[in-house]
């Protein structure tokens, strides 16, 4: 008599443990999210304080009064506009170069056959394991022999010669597109270049967007490249410019200005992230794991 009842009971209790697990998960995640938000909050809070309120004990969590003028002061002490212009110039040219060269080469590796192609592809994959340190010194010497140091060229030109990770990623994308689409294009007499430009590029827009966004973050956050190649302060990027003032005697101790600057430096990343975040999960699901 009791036999038919038991499964329902068990299912009900299972649902209960499931919802309990979910509640615990959400609680843990919320605590984690708060932990992540605290540093950001601390940054914003410091950035909006008057200098005399920065070093208070116990600390002032909500700035009072709110010192909006800190942001204006930053523009006075630091050539922030110049840093931003330099960074934008580098980032845009690196993004165009990376998108063009990587998608171009990736199409060759994915769709066109030629002797030696796969060995070259393997060699390119292998370079992903090579620590940047190994190529660093000769690359630096090479660029300085060309007289390119203290210019943006060493930061931009390499991007036009492909990047192993993105070539790999885009190749995986191209491989997932049915070949029949190209065949019909070929029957119509389209060249491989037309097919790449008119057919493959539009079809892989999400992948290209992912590459663009990753390239943006990598270039925007790049510290080492500008640090070693650029000397003049007027040529610096936001990343290195910021580090000057972390250690400088004029701004360094003025934590409120430093944090206002840091806050301004994170805003471009934040904006790009908000607009592009839906691409991340999607593209990593489709390509990131096939390696």
């Amino acid at each position: 008599m009791s036999a038919p009842i038991r499964p329902t009971v068990r299912r009900a209790s299972r649902r209960q443990t499931q919802s309990l697990a979910k509640i615990v998960s959400i609680a843990i995640l919320t605590i984690g999210a708060i932990i992540i938000m605290v540093p950001f909050f601390w940054m914003i809070s410091t950035a909006l304080k008057q200098q005399r309120n920065v070093y208070l004990y116990p600390p002032q969590w909500i700035p009072n009064p709110i010192a909006w003028e800190n942001f204006r002061r930053v523009w006075e002490v630091v050539p922030f506009l110049q840093f931003t212009k330099n960074t934008a110039f580098i980032v845009i040219l690196v993004m165009i170069g990376t998108l063009f060269s990587c998608s171009f080469s990736a199409y060759g590796f994915a769709r066109l056959r030629a002797p030696g192609r796969d060995i070259i592809f393997l060699a390119i994959l292998a370079t992903m394991m090579l620590p940047g340190a190994v190529t660093l010194v000769p690359t630096y010497i090479g660029f300085s022999k060309l007289g390119w140091t203290n210019s943006f060229l060493p930061l931009i030109v390499p991007a036009w010669f492909g990047s192993p990770f993105y070539i790999f990623m885009l190749r995986q994308f191209y491989l997932s597109i049915p070949a029949e689409l190209e065949e019909s294009g070929r029957v119509d007499g389209a060249s491989n270049f037309r097919i790449w430009w008119d057919l493959m590029l539009p079809l892989t827009k999400p992948a290209l967007a992912t590459v663009a966004v990753f390239t943006f973050f990598a270039t925007y956050n790049d510290f080492f490249g500008p640090l070693i190649y650029l000397n003049d302060r007027s040529k610096q990027t936001i990343a290195v410019g910021l580090s000057y003032f972390t250690g400088s005697n004029t701004v360094g101790p003025q934590m409120h200005l430093l944090m206002a600057m840091t806050l301004m430096a994170t805003i471009p990343s934040l904006i790009v992230f908000i607009f592009a975040q839906r691409y991340f999960v999607q593209s990593i699901v489709t390509t990131g794991l096939k390696g």
Binding site: K22, Y57, C102, G108, V137, I141, G142, A239, V285
Partner: protein, 323 residues
Amino acid sequence: MSAPASTTSSSASGLQAGYIQPRRRGMTMRRREMIDCYIFILPAVLGLLIFYLGPMIASLYFSMTDYDMLSPATWVGLENYRTLMHDAIFWKSLRVTVTYSVFSVPLVLGLALFLALLLNQKFRGVTAYRTIFYLPTVMSGVAVATLWKWIFNPDFGILNLLLEKIGIHGPAWLADETWALPALILTSLWTAGGSMLIFLAGLQSIPNDLYEAAELDGAGIWNRFRNITLPLLSHVTFFNLVLGIIGALQVFTEAFVLTRGGPNNSTMLLSVYLYQNAFQYLKMGYASAIAWAMFLIVMVLTLAVFRSAPMWVHYQETQGNAK
């Protein structure tokens, strides 16, 4: 290039020509394809030669020279490597780098997996949580390092202020020889979001019916995790582990901005030591030797992980067939 196609038909009958011509056209098309292929992959090939293979060989050469970029390089053979063997700071930086990696990589992977498991459920707002946990990864670099410096400030930093609240008198962190490296390791957790996302993608590719079947068999949460999730996720773990090791051995920005290798070389990562030698002391030859030592360590560790893979990495033959 297209010439051969027209020369064939004279000796062949109409029927044979019907067979031959497409083949001939196939030949030229294949040649066309080959040439196009080389044109397409040209940027990558040039990149490989100019920015990887060339510098690699040059680096090996420079590592056997004395070169300060002002006077010509002089050949010294293995002298730089011999000096390296007796360089106390090099050994210290090797120890620091290994310690950093040994703690940072497992902690980051563990945290990333834990978060991915929590975020692989269906509830309202799950995408918002995913976004929040991924956010720190794109906010890395100098800006966040600067922020960390302020957080770790011994007297006014938020970390010690919070520790004070629970009755702990915090250390001087970055200014303290004992605590500087742990502080650096702590900052590495900030970017667990990248690995988390890759784990998450892996989790989503595990077929749900496996869990349902196991649940009907009465397997609890831990059993399901141990016997389904971990094995079926092992190739993702492998991927994250390899990337994590390679990344951890090369960390530079955080260490450079936060401590510049100090205090008393307690955070002198190999990359920072290399930077100092190359760009502060202009010892390009010696720096190249350090780079090759780094390369060797990366290779040995990566190889060890690859070698260990058959013991713990399971590849799915076909989906759903795995159990």
